[in-house]
């Protein structure tokens, strides 16, 4: 009964969630901080843009200490949507998969997870067996505060599953995030913004890997403008062939693109002409283009 009452108090505390106060025996919780977007750069100088790029609304932070053990920092980010929480989780899933929340990994003292519209990041400044055990317990308790599961981004369906390496799929909005995953250009040549959705993933083939990107724009007209700009800036000087502007890059790899409705489909690098063509047609079919032809 006591536990039930405690959890209810945590959930109903004024000002938002309250992170666990005694997750592990012997560990002491410090005071909780709540960081708003306006204060993100005071909290994490130089790093705030990533979280702003997903439109984060609140960040709850608490430190946990125990004599002889590393400090554990727990950060819980509240995002506008579950899709955005997944997006933050998708930026790097390297680590041991865990059954916590809707997805979690652990490696070298860092635990990342997402659940509903929350992204969780727990970091021990060095790893010990006890800090790992506490981080796992802290994650389980924190995820319980995050409410019901949320829906992953519908945009994940824009990438066909055949030969897709699911662990490489990223969901994001902004140019800064695109360049974080794959440098394309210093200028925002795809007109990415908080109003665009993008998914990127790697496909495995016999000749090597292909990288695909699909961007959804608010309107067909905006997709058209982005496609025109991509051709003008990125494909300039290349010999383009076929309806998908297939072209060979200077490194011998292949690029192709096409607009389908309000989406822009790009295969940014592919090892062979055939792989590139096959992949872009698969993606176009997946996104409603009949026979892989442009609308």
């Amino acid at each position: 009964m006591h536990c039930v009452i405690s959890v209810m108090l945590l959930l109903t505390a004024p000002g938002g969630l309250v992170l666990p106060q005694a997750p592990c025996p012997g560990w002491t919780a410090g005071p909780q901080k709540t960081v708003l977007p306006s204060g993100i750069f005071d909290y994490m100088d130089g790093a705030g843009e990533l979280y702003l790029g997903y439109g984060f609304r609140k960040l709850y932070v608490r430190e946990y200490r125990k004599s002889g053990q590393p400090t554990i920092v727990c950060e819980l980010y509240e995002l506008p949507t579950a899709a955005d929480a997944f997006g933050l989780f998708s930026y790097d899933r390297t680590g041991e998969p865990l059954k916590i929340g809707q997805g979690a990994v652990y490696a070298s003292g860092l635990l990342l997870a997402w659940h509903g519209k929350y992204f969780l990041r727990i970091l021990a400044d060095r790893e010990t067996p006890e800090s790992k055990q506490c981080a796992l317990e802290l994650a389980k308790q924190t995820i319980k505060l995050c409410g019901a599961p949320g829906k992953p981004p519908a945009a994940l369906q824009w990438l066909p599953k055949d030969n897709l390496d699911a662990e490489t799929v990223h969901y994001f909005h902004t140019h800064m995030c695109l360049n974080y995953f794959h440098f394309l250009a210093t200028k925002n040549i795809l007109n990415l913004s908080g109003k665009t959705e993008a998914v990127m993933g790697t496909y495995n083939g016999k000749q090597g890997k292909s990288l695909a990107l699909v961007v959804g724009y608010p309107s067909v007209d905006e997709a058209r403008r982005a496609w025109e700009q991509f051709r003008k800036v990125y494909l300039a000087g290349l010999s383009l062939s076929g309806p998908h502007c297939l072209a060979k890059l200077e490194n011998g790899r292949w690029v192709a693109g096409s607009q389908v409705g309000r989406k822009l489909v790009l295969v940014l690098e592919s090892p062979t002409r055939e792989d590139c063509l096959k992949l872009i047609e698969q993606i176009l079919v997946c996104n409603g283009a009949k026979g892989g032809k442009r609308r």
């Binding site: 130089g46 680590g95 440098f183 800036v233």
Partner: protein, 293 residues
């Protein structure tokens, strides 16, 4: 930079060269003590010990004192460390030791050791300043020592030497992403220009991916101090180490993204030093495993 900025294809075409090209896998000759040209102007010393950090990642002060002395001596080319410090700094100097705070902070034990070395050659204690963001203190200094930690950065590719002074610009966001090529501009500001007499990179435990926050998955114990009087050469060598570690982790080329365009620009546009690894003489001493250069 052209009107449309730099694209990935510019790297593929080779129109962006130097270490920035290296970062996108363009490939450059491997530099090192063996390949450096005789008579090179820029010398970078990389001195390492497997015992620089303890098993719980604390700084081994005794070992690091020796690393710093060896590194400075090798970088300056004197018979002993004291002579190197005396060659670089006068007792009348006001010396700022500039350390990094964000993401992968400088181990402050190293800054304290540097302070001791300066004091030993006659610089008075009140004339040695620890600086992170205090522009007013920089203005008071007659000499600076750049002491950043080795790290990649998600807005500039590399966030070590050239980015260290970004807060002194008063407008740090003006030097991110495509504008990171202008980081060298900060080193030309009136109150900074010509003051940096020594660069010491804390490469005890670098981070080879760009964060944006500390990510232990991409930190490793390198146990090194990198020293040079050429900030661009020191950055280029640090970048080479980071890139090599990334490739080692992935087992295939894993380019930094965004590319570290600031390094070649600091050389070509701002004339701050040498970015071409084939023109840098690298002196390597110490722990003979995992050099990455």
């Amino acid at each position: 930079m052209k009107g449309d900025g730099i694209t990935r294809r510019d790297f593929l075409k080779g129109t962006v060269t130097g270490v920035a090209g290296l970062a996108l896998g363009a490939g450059l000759p491997t530099a090192g003590a063996e390949t450096a040209k005789k008579g090179s102007q820029s010398v970078v010393a990389v001195v390492r010990s497997s015992e620089a950090l303890t098993s719980d990642m604390q700084v081994n002060v005794t070992v690091c004192r020796n690393l710093i002395r060896q590194a400075v001596m090798q970088a300056v080319g004197t018979a002993n460390a004291s002579a190197a410090w005396k060659k670089l700094f006068k007792p009348t100097d006001v010396v700022g030791i500039v350390t990094s705070k964000a993401v992968n902070p400088t181990h402050m034990e190293l800054a304290n050791l540097v302070k001791e070395e300066l004091a030993a050659v006659g610089v008075s204690e009140q004339n040695i300043k620890f600086i992170q963001r205090e522009t007013d203190l920089v203005k008071e200094c007659t000499a600076l020592i750049a002491l950043p930690a080795l790290k990649a950065h998600w807005l500039t590719g590399i966030g070590t030497v050239l980015k260290l002074y970004i807060m002194f610009s008063g407008k740090p966001s003006n030097y991110h992403n495509e504008n990171s090529s202008k980081l060298g501009e900060i080193w030309q500001m009136d109150f900074i220009k010509g003051k940096t007499r020594l660069v010491l990179i804390d490469a005890l435990r670098p981070t080879c991916d760009k964060g944006p926050q500390v990510d232990p998955r991409y930190q490793w114990v390198y146990g090194g101090i990198i020293a040079s009087t050429d900030p661009v050469a020191a950055e280029a060598v640090g970048l080479k180490i980071i890139q090599a570690k990334r490739d080692e982790i992935k087992g295939e080329p894993w380019p930094l993204s965004p590319p570290p365009i600031c390094v070649a620009a600091a050389d070509k546009e701002y004339k701050l030093g040498t970015s071409d690894l084939s023109k840098i003489r690298i002196k390597k001493l110490g722990w003979n495993e995992g050099w990455l250069i």
